[in-house]
Symmetry: C2
Subunit: 137 residues, 2 copies
């Protein structure tokens, strides 16, 4: 099973809940929040989802997508490990339908930051209106 393989690669013990949560993330086309995962998986307690997402994050399995006023979202990293996150891209958050899109093939332009600051991660979030919400008006 794909899920077990991924968990194994990140040194996480495979349990039924973890496989289910991972599968939910795998199936989704856009980043999911904790509550979206809970809604899709009514059998799993939110405390388990919370702890599982923390675990996945700590093991470098997830990207954390910060969409602003709303809640934190998570998406699977394609090619990242705990040490190296090579899979960063730009996100677009629709202020109407509240969905977050990944612009996979547009990578965030590197910028030079002032001396003394140590960069660990980047979050490039564009807000606006997505095509389907734009057309709906």
């Amino acid at each position: 099973m794909v899920e077990e393989l991924i968990l194994q690669q990140h040194h996480i013990k495979a349990t039924a809940n973890r496989i289910t949560i991972l599968r939910t993330l795998l199936k989704s086309k856009h980043p999911l929040s904790m509550n979206e995962i809970c809604d899709r998986l009514e059998t799993v307690d939110k405390s388990v989802v919370s702890r599982t997402l923390t675990l996945f994050r700590e093991q470098g399995m997830l990207h954390v997508v910060e969409n602003g006023n709303e809640c934190t979202e998570y998406e699977l990293c394609k090619s990242s490990t705990k040490e190296h996150d090579t899979d960063q891209h730009i996100h677009f958050h629709c202020i109407i339908c509240k969905k977050t899109f990944c612009f996979e093939n547009v990578s965030p332009p590197g910028i030079s930051i002032p001396d003394g600051f140590k960069q660990l991660s980047v979050n490039y979030m564009i807000k606006g209106i997505c095509p389907s919400c734009k057309n709906a008006r």
Copy 2:
């Protein structure tokens, strides 16, 4: 008074609370969260701070800085109005001291986004360790 002038320019009635909150933002070297403002101003109720920040935001007086897992922060716009926000820059959030810095002279590189998406705002947030936290270790 500078504060009254700024409020007037954004068509906001000047009250004692609003002037105090604006002054707090003016004095700060980095973006402030609602709670940081409440801490500095113990006489003003947090509901007033909340409503005031909403008002300031609606009138284009503030930048909203999303620092991720923690809370929303606000900073004064230098040159923005309700219609045009020309004063966007990159922010750096220190994961240790939780302070957010503005990189004033590094403007976010424009990127071309896919067709159909309408861009309204950009948030470019770098996370890492700031100079003083780096030196403290």
